[in-house]
């Protein structure tokens, strides 16, 4: 393949706009926009961002509705030399406000004249200037991008935090450049300008950066499904309608489509990649028949290590799939990343021994934003031979065998729901603040299709009516994203305790199974 001339996605976008302005760039629903059309939007927003009122802002919040204006707002923010932080439109406003406060920005770009979050900000008296990108004035001149410095932050994403406050993860341009260089150079992916990428992720999820913006380095295009209620069906519709050739998806999509595999044929798909959750080997095997011409990859990586940092090519010729307890191997590190396994004594475990997976290298960030306590706990050093190296502690359990790594579970109570990280502790933190609630315990259990179902047990010493439980649900919905609101809430007079006086989570799991 032709290696892209740059690993800077904005520079790539500008170069391909100049070379082939009429090529397709982004597709939303039935409308496909060319590089020239996207650039026109980017230039309008760059003009907006050149206003004096933005001068003090290092980071711009982007209200992340899935439309052309939002994608252009992200590109324009990066082109102006700033970082972006996406704000999920359906996220509870208190949580979004927490993100804005942590970032320290007072400016948000938004597609359209009004949003629920904007109204909430106004009602709460918070001083945030919200700018409608759809009415930005046409550019009076063409603005070139500000070249990013390696240590500039490119984006700030927030992940679930067990103490009730989401943690900010800054990804620097050096991290992003390392990822794109590894993706396009060393993994064996032969993407090209004619490829059509699927972009099924919320912009608050870092896999979106790969799916939406890697194509811009190649002069290729990206297609975004509708986010309406039938999510995974619209993903399939886009795969078929736009003849997608590169698809990065979460395994939850397969868990949903599993029983329909006999109806699915996607011969045009060349690369089918999975990330964000453990990939069950039987699902991968079944899916390969739906995509007869595709190479299958399981890729792995937390937000802190920039999108993904390992890859395993799943064989589709009938040879055995490397797996641990039915979960497909996460493979080998990408170029520029090191995977290490730490043991309980703070040193490295030998091959074959399970321990905490530690990540080092150019894709790994160095902190949680303005959070020294969480930073110190997760970003540490280990002795490798005679030298200390900086590592990120993933909290994932893994082992290495013959150079391949195998995911074995979590050290803590984090679960993945459709790829989103969910700390059960964050749910419990907010649940304990509900009226008449003494204590709370959240339980995640897999249903028949392999998806996690969240169940919340509340300890209350007062009678609690159905109406009160409905109110609890509403209150939790104001504090937590929808995927973190438990499907079922039960009130009990006492939570079961184990011999140590701690909540007996094993017993709670059994209670869920019994119902």
């Amino acid at each position: 393949m032709n290696r892209p001339a740059t690993t800077d996605l904005v520079a790539g976008f500008f170069a391909h706009f100049r070379a082939q302005p009429d090529r397709s760039c982004f597709g939303f629903a039935d409308t496909v926009y060319t590089y020239a059309q996207v650039m026109a939007e980017v230039q309008r927003i760059l003009r907006l961002l050149s206003a004096e009122s933005f001068a003090a802002e290092q980071t711009i919040a982007v209200h992340a509705t899935p439309d052309l204006h939002t994608y252009a707002a992200i590109l324009a923010t990066l082109a102006s030399g700033r970082a972006y932080t996406p704000i999920h439109p359906q996220q509870p406003p208190e949580r979004s406000w927490s993100c804005l406060q942590q970032v320290g920005t007072r400016a948000m770009l938004q597609s359209g004249p009004a949003s629920d979050f904007q109204r909430w900000l106004a009602a709460a008296g918070h001083d945030v200037a919200v700018h409608d990108t759809t009415t930005a004035e046409a550019a009076e001149r063409f603005r070139e991008p500000v070249p990013p410095q390696p240590d500039d932050v490119a984006y700030l994403l927030f992940t679930s935090g067990s103490t009730g406050t989401p943690k900010g993860v800054p990804i620097y341009h050096r991290n992003l450049a390392t990822f794109f260089a590894a993706l396009l150079d060393s993994t064996g992916f032969a993407f090209g300008a004619d490829d059509r990428f699927l972009q099924m992720f919320d912009l608050t999820f870092d896999l979106s950066v790969m799916s939406a913006f890697a194509p811009l380095l190649l002069g290729a295009s990206s297609y975004i499904p509708s986010t309406k209620g039938t999510g995974y069906l619209s993903v399939l519709r886009v795969l078929e309608r736009h003849q997608i050739t590169v698809a990065l998806m979460v395994p939850s999509v397969l868990a949903f489509l599993d029983k329909y595999f006999d109806e699915i044929r996607l011969p045009q798909l060349k690369y089918s990649m999975f990330c964000g959750e453990a990939l069950p080997a039987p699902l991968a095997s079944g899916w390969s028949a739906c995509v007869p011409n595709a190479r299958l990859f399981n890729v792995y990586g937390p937000t802190e290590a920039t999108i993904f940092c390992t890859a395993y090519e799943v064989p589709t010729d009938g040879s055995p799939i490397l797996s641990h307890q039915g979960v497909v191997s996460i493979g080998r590190p990408l170029k520029g990343t090191r995977l290490l396994v730490g043991n309980d004594h703070g040193s490295l475990a030998p091959p074959g021994e399970t321990g905490e997976l530690l990540l080092a290298g150019g894709q790994v960030t160095n902190q949680y934003w303005k959070n020294p306590e969480k930073t110190a706990a997760a970003f540490t050093q280990v002795l490798d031979g005679e030298s200390l190296i900086d590592v990120y502690r993933t909290g994932d359990l893994a082992y290495e065998q013959d150079g391949q790594f195998y995911y074995c579970g979590r050290l803590d109570s984090q679960v993945k729901i459709a790829g989103y990280r969910v700390e059960l502790g964050e749910i419990e933190f907010h649940a304990r603040k509900l009226p008449a609630v003494v204590n709370a315990a959240a339980v995640a259990r897999k249903d028949a299709s392999g998806n996690y179902v969240l169940r919340l047990f509340l300890e209350s010493h007062q009678p609690v009516s159905d109406a009160a439980i409905a109110e609890y649900r509403a209150l939790l919905g104001r504090a937590l994203p929808s995927y973190m609101v438990p499907q079922k809430i039960d009130v009990v007079p006492n939570l079961p305790l184990n011999q140590n006086g701690k909540i007996d989570r094993k017993r709670l799991g059994e209670l869920v199974a019994e119902v």
Partner: protein, 83 residues
């Protein structure tokens, strides 16, 4: 089973799936009208309807479901409930 009984039973499945005993469905209702009806809830809803009525939706059928009325009609057709 009458059409009304079928409709009531589907409403019960909705109430259970969305954990909201007061939820009232209508034929024109879509995912946009129900709080919490996102892609995760949609999967749970389809599975719950299949279990409750002992039916199986084909993928091509699911892609034609645009509103609650479409669901009601499709289930009615599968289990033989007249209009």
């Amino acid at each position: 089973m009458t059409s009304q009984e079928l409709f009531d039973q589907i409403q019960t499945v909705f109430q259970t799936t969305f954990d909201d005993p007061s939820l009232q469905i209508s034929r024109t209702m879509t995912a946009d009208d129900v709080e919490g009806w996102d892609s995760f809830a949609h999967i749970n809803l389809i599975m719950a309807l299949e279990v409750r009525f002992g039916v199986k939706f084909r993928l091509s059928e699911l892609q034609e479901l645009n509103c609650v009325g479409d669901m009601v009609d499709m289930i009615a057709g599968k289990i033989g409930v007249g209009a």
